[in-house]
């Protein structure tokens, strides 16, 4: 893998740091009047999801990480692993709970999501930004109440709990933004 010098650091670049693949989020050039220049870098550790802040001397370099984002179809879970398939070649990958993490509450069979592969193995799963899921449990809807703006918790088929408007019922399908966990609208049926 190529190595990258601080002047090549850009948001999105994948590099190795402390043995873990990381994505650069931000690179700020810092230089005191007559002194050494530095790169103040924010990186996301792709294994843990944690954000690190590191400062490097200008000209330091980091090894690139073999990390590829690939669109895959979510197939099913056997309880221990979550199975994904690359639609072009039908190649299947399995990911454990540590990899799927927060994505699991949004994963619906057949949906397309992004699986991040590190050295060919799943490292992280990103659900689609918007998903449509069925309400499996919520208080009975208040008929006609579309105006008061009140909300109530609703459990969705994947297990996620989101706040929905009062008029919705069990069995309704809702559209949710997975990045914020917010209800967007009732899905058209």
């Amino acid at each position: 893998m190529a190595s990258y010098s601080t002047n090549e650091f850009r948001a999105g670049l994948k590099v190795m740091l402390d043995g873990d693949p990381c994505a650069i989020l931000e690179n700020e050039f810092v230089k005191p009047g007559k002194g050494q220049a530095f790169s103040r870098v924010r990186l996301r550790n792709l294994r843990s999801g944690r954000v690190w802040e590191r400062t490097f001397k200008s000209g330091d370099s980091l090894e690139g990480a073999d990390v590829v984002d690939t669109e895959m179809q979510y197939l099913y879970s056997d309880g221990e692993h979550w199975h994904f398939m690359q639609p072009e070649n039908f190649e299947q990958y399995q990911a454990d709970a540590a990899v799927v993490r927060d994505a699991l509450q949004w994963l619906k069979e057949q949906d397309t999501c992004v699986v991040t592969l590190y050295n060919g193995h799943p490292l992280a799963v990103t659900p689609p930004n918007h998903v449509e899921l069925e309400i499996v449990e919520t208080d009975p809807g208040i008929r006609g109440d579309t105006a008061t703006g009140g909300t109530k918790p609703a459990r969705l088929s994947t297990g996620a709990v989101v706040k929905v408007p009062l008029f919705l019922n069990t069995g309704d399908v809702v559209r949710v933004d997975t990045r914020t966990g917010e209800y967007l609208s009732r899905a058209r049926d």
Binding site: N7, F29, P32, K34, T55
Partner: protein, 315 residues
């Protein structure tokens, strides 16, 4: 093709033109002579932290990172107050506050020392529209207040440990770093963000941060650089010295830089022989300062990125 438009707004360009006119009027009223010195020189600088842009051709020429050496040669020939307001170039400096091609205001005052020059810098900044009083702070006092460390007396290992911690890196990474680089890191990451708002002159830098300033003993007998930096609202705008005039000492500092460049595998830059000859012939005692004009405009107008201060920032 897109991307052809200016990066600064018309309003900013109008304010920029007014600022340049104001700076020239300030010096005209004080009898300081404007001099256009070359931006292409035979040599670059030996400074480890400044990378000159080399221009292909025979012989290779270097875009000047500041007009300093030419202005000092002028002073050695004729001791009168001079200034340069124009372009300077530094390779690889890119960021919110940096652009490889930038506008520098640099001036020299024969017979003044750096303390007297700070007063004139404050007057210039006020005339340009910076508001409020200025204060003078000691580098090591600020360092101690923020980090609880004595910038002069702390051991190299103490500084390395604190620098590694501030950088978020394992200590081993900083085991061999020289003292001045540790100070640079700690200052930029920890001390500078805590500087008070308004105009601040930071003085009495540790001797290892002297660059081209004279080194003297402070009242406590510690060797300090006769150097200052000026900040407005925490943004570094300029750097000044009571200038080194000793040709022998200048030659030794050049040689030390070159040796360190070799050891680090950096490109080796020839020392400027004409500057050394000028110093040998006699540079009058003088103080000099360089101010970043694009940054001054940013501070005055509250601009978020240097490209907004430049008619055409590089793509």
């Amino acid at each position: 093709m897109s991307g052809w438009r200016p990066t600064a707004s018309v309003q900013v360009l109008e304010r920029r033109a007014a600022l340049l006119a104001q700076l020239r009027a300030f010096f005209a009223a004080r009898g300081v002579l404007e001099v256009e010195v070359p931006v292409l020189g035979r040599t670059g600088v030996t400074d480890l932290h400044i990378d000159n842009l080399a221009v292909a051709g025979t012989p290779t020429r270097f875009l000047q990172s500041s007009p300093e050496y030419f202005l000092k040669r002028l002073l050695a020939a004729q001791p009168r107050a001079v200034y340069y307001l124009g372009k300077a170039f530094r390779a690889g400096e890119r960021g919110r506050w940096h652009h490889p091609e930038f506008t520098l205001l640099e001036w020299y005052r024969p017979d003044w020392d750096e303390d007297r020059l700070t007063e004139e810098v404050a007057e210039l900044l006020v005339s340009a529209g910076v508001r409020g009083q200025h204060q003078r702070l000691d580098y090591s006092d600020c360092f101690a207040a923020v980090l609880g460390l004595d910038a002069h007396a702390a051991t190299d290992d103490e500084l390395r440990a604190r620098a590694a911690e501030a950088a978020g890196q394992p200590r081993a990474e900083w085991r061999e770093q020289p003292r001045d680089i540790c100070l640079d890191l700690l200052f930029s990451l920890a001390v500078q963000p805590e500087l008070p708002a308004g105009m601040v002159f930071l003085t009495r830098y540790p001797a290892c941060q002297a660059a081209l300033a004279r080194i003297d003993a402070d009242p406590q007998g510690r060797p300090v650089a006769r150097r200052f930096e000026v900040f407005v609202d925490g943004v570094e705008l300029g750097n000044g010295y009571w200038e080194l005039t000793d040709a022998g000492e200048q030659e030794r500092r050049f040689a030390r830089d070159i040796e360190r460049r070799r050891a680090l595998g950096m490109p080796v830059r020839e020392p400027d022989g004409r500057l050394l000859a000028a110093l040998q012939s006699g540079l009058p005692p003088c103080a000099g300062v360089a101010l970043g004009v694009d940054r001054l405009l940013m501070v005055l107008l509250g601009l978020a990125h240097i490209r907004e201060a430049l008619a055409f920032a590089e793509d």
